[in-house]
Symmetry: C2
Subunit: 325 residues, 2 copies
């Protein structure tokens, strides 16, 4: 179910005893271990998406050694589909699209006008995903990404489920996966945990809907990382790796050994995307929504290359220690 | 500087080799180790503060074995001062008052009307603190406890500093300590970290203003627990112990061994208050502000006694291992 399960990435520390996957191959015909496709969020590079900003973000992502760039689609109108598709192809990058709805287009609402507006935004985002050659549309697509004034209701939840079901059916025709990124309590009143997301997915009942797990949010809401991740099984389809304060990996409180150990032990093969936010790179649509008040870094390339090295090192360590957890 | 530094609490696992404090004594005349006064937040027991609710909260706090109850004063008008003071005295409990300002009375604002409204709220809360015999007024008193639409400004910060300076001077006459509870990005755009709080305190320049550190918020914003706590030195005056998801201690991601180890190593003698929130106990003023959407517990007494035992155990363990960190 994981997005990009067929992706092949040569581990930097391959050794014959690591265990191979029969579907793996390299251009040279040798068997190599399958690693996960690694992605990076565009806001590491730029807050906008003009052709120049898109080029900077896409070329930097490729230069840093990533396989995929995650493009925020909170404002679908600002994305030039053909331009983006061409630049992705020129740099050989895969892409995923993510967004959060707002209180103005909230499908987690009893107000049918807001639900209709949200449905429209999601269908537009699906068009963009399709148009740029993306294989994944995810994020806080099940409701507003905002601090709600109160709990949700059964009626609001039902409206959300109905729209996501329709979106998933529409996406299935193009082989696009729909990901539900459960987030912390300040960004949703509907899906804050793995279990709430699995329960919601049962109501949606579509095979191309997956759990999108984010370590940053899990650190606030879950009892830990290993058990909830493994509970997803093959319903886990996308992973965000973010530090507890959304800065440099390792400079926070998250136990990434536990996170990557779980991903290896459950044989997760999907995309792993690094996400980080600093007041040094501002997207007016996103930075205030995400409450990015502090400057945690200013050099995106240093941040991104450090993160890729960190993630590869942790994945390698987790593979080296299979059976010990 | 810590609130309650003279409090004496007999450790449940006293041993002669633990090291004694010369100011300590017991009724029996033996020297006993000084432990920290332990408190519990009233929202573990009740969402309101009618005489019946106050009695339930205060008597339950005493029955669970705590030294202090923390009373939320978001709506000062609902607290009957004489009634509360008498009930505290009857049960032999100490108390602290905490609150968060709102966007309607925000001193972290450029709007002088809002600043004046906030000043008025804080002075009322100081009156209540004085009236009920409290020794501490803290919380998100430096600005609104809410998700801000954008970053703060130099002018807004200066307004906040000026009011807190005045509040502290007013409080000093009654020996009341003023605590600044830095909170996560979704609850303030002004003070999210220890360092920001220390810098702000330098601007205030009053000796009875202390850092109020909360493990729940530190887990989201700091690089870790030990270094920021120890950086406070004797400017740390109040501690909130809360789990990463605000439920049972130990059922989350926070490394409490690190937290309590730092408190012991820095010889912190102030109040340590347990804080936890569940949708099972609702304060209409607070629960939605804090985004309490999930039922993490329903039995406050079980929760509170478990927490006190957990904190005592961790403090004892930290004392047993002094010199090993």
């Amino acid at each position: 179910m994981g997005v990009g399960a067929t992706g092949i990435r040569v581990s930097t520390t391959y050794r014959p005893d690591m265990g191979l996957d029969e579907t793996s191959s390299s251009a040279a015909g040798r068997w190599l271990p399958v690693s996960n496709p690694f992605g990076v969020h565009a806001l590491v590079w730029t807050g906008g998406w003009s052709p120049e900003e898109a080029e900077h973000a896409i070329s930097s992502t490729a230069a840093a050694g990533y396989d995929l760039i995650e493009i925020p689609a909170l404002d679908p109108s600002r994305i030039d589909i053909a331009d983006t598709r061409d630049r992705l192809a020129a740099h050989g990058l895969r892409t995923s699209l993510t967004l959060g709805l707002t209180f103005a287009n909230d499908i987690n609402s009893e107000d049918l006008e807001l639900v209709a507006a949200g449905r429209s935004t999601l269908m537009s985002a699906l068009d963009i995903t399709r148009g740029v050659g993306g294989e994944y549309l995810g994020g806080v697509i099940f409701g507003a990404m905002d601090k709600y004034p109160g709990p949700t209701s059964a009626a609001a939840r039902a409206n959300s489920v109905a729209v996501i079901k329709e979106l998933a059916q529409e996406a299935a025709g193009d082989g696009i996966t729909i990901g539900l990124e459960f987030v912390n309590r300040y960004e949703s009143n509907l899906l804050n945990t793995v279990q709430e997301t699995l329960d919601y997915m049962d109501l949606v009942g579509e095979d191309n809907v997956v759990v999108h797990a984010d370590a940053y949010h899990m650190n606030i809401e879950e009892d830990g990382f290993r058990e909830p991740l493994m509970r997803c099984g093959d319903r886990l389809g996308y992973v965000h790796i973010g530090e507890s304060n959304r800065g440099y990996l390792g400079a926070g409180t998250i136990d990434f050994e536990e996170v990557f150990g779980a991903l290896v032990d459950m044989d997760y093969r999907g995309v792993i995307t690094f996400e980080s936010f600093s007041s040094a790179v501002v997207d007016p649509n996103m930075s205030n929504t995400l409450a990015i008040w502090r400057n945690l870094w200013s050099d995106g390339m240093d941040l991104a290359t450090h993160a890729l090295d960190y993630m590869n090192t942790e994945m390698d360590r987790a593979r080296d220690t299979i059976g010990t957890r």
